[in-house]
């Protein structure tokens, strides 16, 4: 059980393995797209882990990366199509980043490191947990960026009008990608020093 909980904290894909950082910077200006992105990655990661694990004994090792890519892109296109049909606004906001889930190193990483050598159900669970680990970081970053950058959460205004009247300003830098990089950087640093001190003691 312990190895499945790893992605949530000790072995977090973004904070510890520094995978999937690009999309973490791009889609975290607001909470809603960040959550949808996290869900999409979780679905793709879990499903492709499951399928690859199912067929792992039939995959010729020489073309395994190609087979993995095929399966991953299949699920990504599926997610993209469903988003366009049902959550049009969100899919517009996420634009190219849904398609770019294909290149998210977390997914290929889990396929190589886990699905190819484990049974389908554990692989499914591993995919879900890694997706959640990735999603957690996205949500935290998006929470601060939306709160400080736009004064809203989930598109609802939380900073009262009286503050604006008193001269409070939204931090425009928060909306831009550089600030996301700084936030993620701070989180990686905090996580790193935390892990370091626990491993010493």
């Amino acid at each position: 059980m312990k190895q499945y909980l790893g992605p949530l904290s000790k072995d977090n894909p973004i904070l510890v393995q520094t995978l999937g950082v690009c999309s973490a910077l791009a889609v975290t200006a607001q909470l809603k797209p960040a959550v949808i992105m996290a869900l999409s990655v979780t679905v793709v990661c879990a499903c492709s882990n499951f399928i690859i694990s199912l067929i792992r004994n039939t995959i010729p090792p020489r073309i395994r990366i190609i087979v993995q890519l095929l399966v991953v892109s299949f699920f990504v296109i599926l997610v993209d199509q469903v988003l366009q049909a049902t959550l049009y606004d969100i899919s517009k906001m996420l634009s190219v980043f849904v398609g770019l889930i294909i290149t998210n190193c977390i997914i290929m990483g889990r396929l190589e490191a886990f699905a190819l050598s484990h049974k389908p159900l554990p692989s499914l669970l591993d995919g879900v947990m890694n997706g959640i680990g990735y999603g957690l970081v996205l949500v935290v970053v998006a929470f601060f960026r939306e709160l400080l950058g736009s004064g809203t959460l989930w598109n609802h205004q939380v900073v009262p009008d009286s503050w604006y009247a008193a001269g409070y300003l939204n931090n425009g830098l928060m909306i831009l990608p550089p600030m996301a990089l700084i936030l993620v950087g701070v989180m990686i640093w905090a996580k790193g020093s935390l892990n370091h001190s626990t491993s010493r003691s």
Binding site: R62, S95, I175
Partner: protein, 198 residues
Amino acid sequence: MKKFSNTYIFIYITVLVLVIAVVLTLVTTGLKPRRDFNKQAEKCQQILQAAGYNGLDRQKSVELFAKVAEKTSTDSIEQYKIVCSDGTTGKAVRLDGKGLWGAIWGYVVISEDGTTIKGITLDHKSETPGLGAKITDETFLNAFKGKKLYDKDGKFVSVRVLKPGTSAEISAENRVDAISGATITSRGVDEMMRTLSH
């Protein structure tokens, strides 16, 4: 490790690709009507917003659009005759241009005599959030309302998007302020507006 023959690999990958292609084709075709509806509904929403109808969701937009608008497009320009929210008739014209990172487009509703802007909506593919993406902000769009396309001598100048304090020869009713920090996107909107001459 098991050995796989070349024939096996060849057949394996062919079958896999075929299966995936067939499933994806089915899904894409199945969802196409809903995707098309979303695109169409968004267009209706944008045109209606330019005509002064605010706060409509997509479903209502499509219904209202069918009532108040009528397509009058020619081959080269997409345009509609539309009854605005204040009861007057205007014409909605599609605009296309380029911003800093990609396409920008929008709809402008002009009064029946073709001189005054009644409203405008703009959209973009990938302008910078907080800078170029501000062209979709209400404050920027509202600045266009009531502006004139012709100057006092009746010459076409369009509504220029210019930095405050530059090109003093263009009077206030023919210009709106550009967005600071978004020079290229503003210029894109400016050029798009100038295509209204025809």
